[in-house]
Structure formats: structure tokens, C-alpha cells
């Protein structure tokens, strides 16, 4: 009996310690574990914030079955870098107005962060950001992908993204005529 009671107390103490922990453990679809600051996770991801507030965080690793280990590593990396970055002066000074929400271009470190990713890694990350409700990361990754599309012809876009053209020549000609305003110089 004495031993059991001691065990129970130890369990209690461990639980309290877990609740006080300042990190959360996330588990990728392929079973890898990642630690991320609880504060950053809650601030940057609406989904993780909801899980932390609702107590559905698993101390042995919260299952994120939709996210592979490479994408999750990038998510965690982004959260850590975000926690350490200082907002640029431009962002601070544009917050004075009552009416206009400041337009936030990606910061230098965010640009570098997405620039080093392969296409596949970038697309995995954009889906992870969407799934986790990470508005800022979604914004930065979508911005990067949109830049890869700008000023390109349909053929060039197919080439960059390795997409197969599933239109017939006749179908494309029909679209071109219907939307002549968009294709008059092609």
C-alpha cells in the first residue's frame, strides 16, 4: 500500500510538471518527434492553440497524421526562428493608422527560409501551414509560390511546376477566344 501511494504521488508531480512545461511534442505521420515552444506554437498556429487550450496535447507526442517529418521539421524550425526574430522597423511604424491594416511583405529571414526549400518541400510546407492554421507561414509560402508564377506564359508555368497539359489544341483555342482580353499578346 505504501509503495502504491508513493507511485500515485510521483504520477501527480509528473503531471503537474508536464502542465508547466514550456514546450509541446509533435509527432509526424512517420512517427518522428519534434519539440516546439508552447508559446510560439500557440501564437503562430490556431489549431495548436486550440489543442493546447483544450488540453488535447499528448505529452508523448501529439499525432499530426497529415504532416510528414520533413514538413513538420520545417514548421518547428519556422516557429523557433519566428520566436527569435525582432519585427522590422517598417512593421512597427506602419501600425500607427487606425484604418489600414499594414501590408506585410516577407521579412529577410522568412524569404531566406522559403528560398532554400525544394519545390516538393515548399508544397508540403504550404499544406502543413494550411492544416495547422498558421496564417503567417501560409502567407509567406504562398507568396513564394506566387512569385514562381508571375509574368510567365501557361507553357512556362507548366514547365516550372511540371504539369501535364490536358487540353486539346481546339479547347485551348476556344478559351483564348472567349478570354481574348487576357491572351491577346500570346
Amino acid at each position: 500500500m505504501e509503495v502504491d501511494k508513493g507511485k500515485g504521488e510521483a504520477e501527480e508531480t509528473r503531471k503537474v510538471a508536464e502542465a508547466d512545461r514550456d514546450t509541446v511534442t509533435l509527432k509526424s505521420s512517420d512517427g518522428k518527434l519534434f519539440e516546439v515552444s508552447k508559446e510560439a506554437a500557440a501564437r503562430l498556429s490556431t489549431v495548436l492553440a486550440g489543442m493546447i487550450a483544450g488540453g488535447s496535447i499528448d505529452d508523448n507526442g501529439t499525432d499530426l497524421k497529415q504532416i510528414g517529418s520533413e514538413a513538420l521539421e520545417n514548421v518547428v524550425d519556422y516557429c523557433n526562428k519566428h520566436a527569435n526574430s525582432i519585427p522590422s522597423a517598417a512593421l512597427i511604424s506602419s501600425s500607427i493608422s487606425f484604418n489600414t491594416a499594414p501590408f506585410k511583405e516577407p521579412e529577410e529571414w522568412e524569404r531566406k527560409f522559403v528560398d532554400r526549400l525544394s519545390h516538393d518541400a515548399l508544397f508540403d510546407l504550404v499544406e502543413a501551414a494550411n492544416f495547422l492554421g498558421m496564417e503567417r507561414l501560409l502567407d509567406v509560402t504562398c507568396h513564394k509560390i506566387s512569385e514562381m508564377m508571375k509574368g510567365k506564359s501557361p507553357d512556362q508555368i507548366r514547365e516550372v511546376f511540371n504539369i501535364k497539359n490536358d487540353y486539346t489544341k481546339e479547347e485551348l483555342e476556344e478559351i483564348r477566344q472567349e478570354l481574348a482580353w487576357a491572351f491577346y499578346d500570346d
Binding site: I96, N99, E127, N130, D139, M149, I175, A182, F183
Partner: protein, 323 residues
Amino acid sequence: MIIIKLMDDVLLSILGKVNLMTLMRVSVVSKRWRHLPWLLTQLSIDVKDFLREPYADPTVDYNIEKAMLSLRDAAMSMLASKYRKCIISRLCISFFLTNSNSSVVGHLVTDAIVNGEVKDIELTSGVERIPFDVSDEEMTKHENDMHNLIGNTCTQLRYLYLFQCDTGLDKSFRIDAPNSKISKLEFFSFHSKQVEIACLPKLEVLISGHWSSPYLPLTLGNVPCLKVVEIYCSAESYQGPFQLSKLLCRTRINKLTLDFLGQKVWLQPEKYQLRSAFSNLTGLSVAGIFVGFGLLWIIALLKVASSLEILHIEVLMLHLYVL
């Protein structure tokens, strides 16, 4: 390739960041993406997208006419109910106002709102031409067009942004539109001698930035709903201070933002004259004050703002380069 598998909502987040031309090019890349442009809830149609070589020069009337025709086709096709499955929450149309096409834009805007396809429309109208190139006659026509657009054709419009949309340095421009639903009006870079807002019954937010006449050339008449005023300008040496109380004497606004952008203060010192205009003021933001200037004049503003809850002051550190 994985991009083809991306979910529609992610693709739409990406496509929300490209201009209309890129958007249309992306949409014909694959059948899977064909419908995406008509699923966007925010859309921007800018006449500059249609000013392309060899017709890129906006000072040539023919080029503007050509671009405006393309813009009309683009707007009609983007709003076509054949493809559109969702309501546009915000549509921005940037265009050049000329005699022959102002009614086209007006009808487009009215139809879109009447059909319930668009919730909010923002019109940006700007003639980015050197004023001296434009004859007086054309300026007078331009003034009539502007007034016709605001007062008659686009009465459903809620947000209007006027960029370099003036009627000439020695002319006045009067907006008297009792039927207009405009709730937010924004001027940027205007060169008129005087802009008189005689009547805009639903106006709530007024933003006015950068004027070229010696004093802020703005007067307010019947604007009973006006709540928020924002004025910003980096004044040149020939520009003098104006009396804020004269501008606001017929209003009871809640929020006021004044931004000097690090240049001279264009506000005339006033004491009790502002009392009635400031009686409902709960938020005051004074920004862009050059670091070398004193701040004591702000106390005079505070003394008459009896309901004030939030005060925001920002001093600007400018880097001075000495050659």
C-alpha cells in the same frame, strides 16, 4: 508533381497574390485549375495590366481607350454568372476616367451590386498625367465625369479611392451626392485648388494624403456620419499651416490621425476653437513628428478633447546625411 494535388483553398491563397493576367494564365495550365479564378472572393482589375507594349504610354488617348475596353471585357467576364459560384467580397477596379468609358464602369459597378455578386467595390481612379499636358477643356469634362460617376451612376459604391484625380490646379471640385452610399473616401495626391465635400450622407471614413496647394484644400459640408478622419502629408516649405477647426467645425468625429511624415507641422495652433469638433473624440494619433520638434502643442489638443481614451504619439527619427 505535388502542386497539382494541392487543395483548392491553398491554391486560392496562392492565386490571391498574383495579378489578373497571371491568374488567367495559371487557370489554363490544366483543366483541374480552370474554374479557380471565379472562386476568388477578392479580385483586383487594374487598367495598368492592359497598358502593354506597344500601347503602354498612358498619355496617349488611343492607348487608354484600348486598355479601358479590355478592362471592361475583363470585368464582364470575371463577373459572368456562367462561371461564378461565389460572391465577391471585395472587388477593386483601378481605371482611367475618360468621357467615353466612365458610364461603362458605372454600369458594371451598379449591375454587379444589384445582382448580389459583389459585396464591396473599391474604385481607384487616377489620371497619372502631367497636368500641363491636359487642356482646360478636358479638365472640365473630367470634372463632370467624376461628378456623374459619384453622384449618379455609382450610387451603390461604398469605397472610393481617388489617386491624382484632380480637376486642375486652379479649379475647385465639389462633391454633392445626396444619393451616394460612399462610406469611405480616400484622396491621395490631389492638386485641385479646392475640394468641397458638400454632401455625402453616408461618409464614415475620410482619408486625405499629400496635397500640393499651400493649404489643405478640403472643406466639409453635410457629412453627418463621419467618424474617422486621417490626414497625412510631408509638407514642402511653401506649404503653410491650416486651421483644423475650420475643416472639422460641422463634424463630431471619434478618431483622428495626423501624420506629418517627419516634415514640418502643417497644423495651426488652436485652443478652444476645436472644442466642439473634439467633443466626441476618443482616439487621437499624432505621428511622424520630427524628433527635433517640441510636443507641447499636443497638450493644447488634449485640453479640448474631453472624451479622449487613447492617445498615440510617434516621433520620427530621420537619418540626416551631411554631404
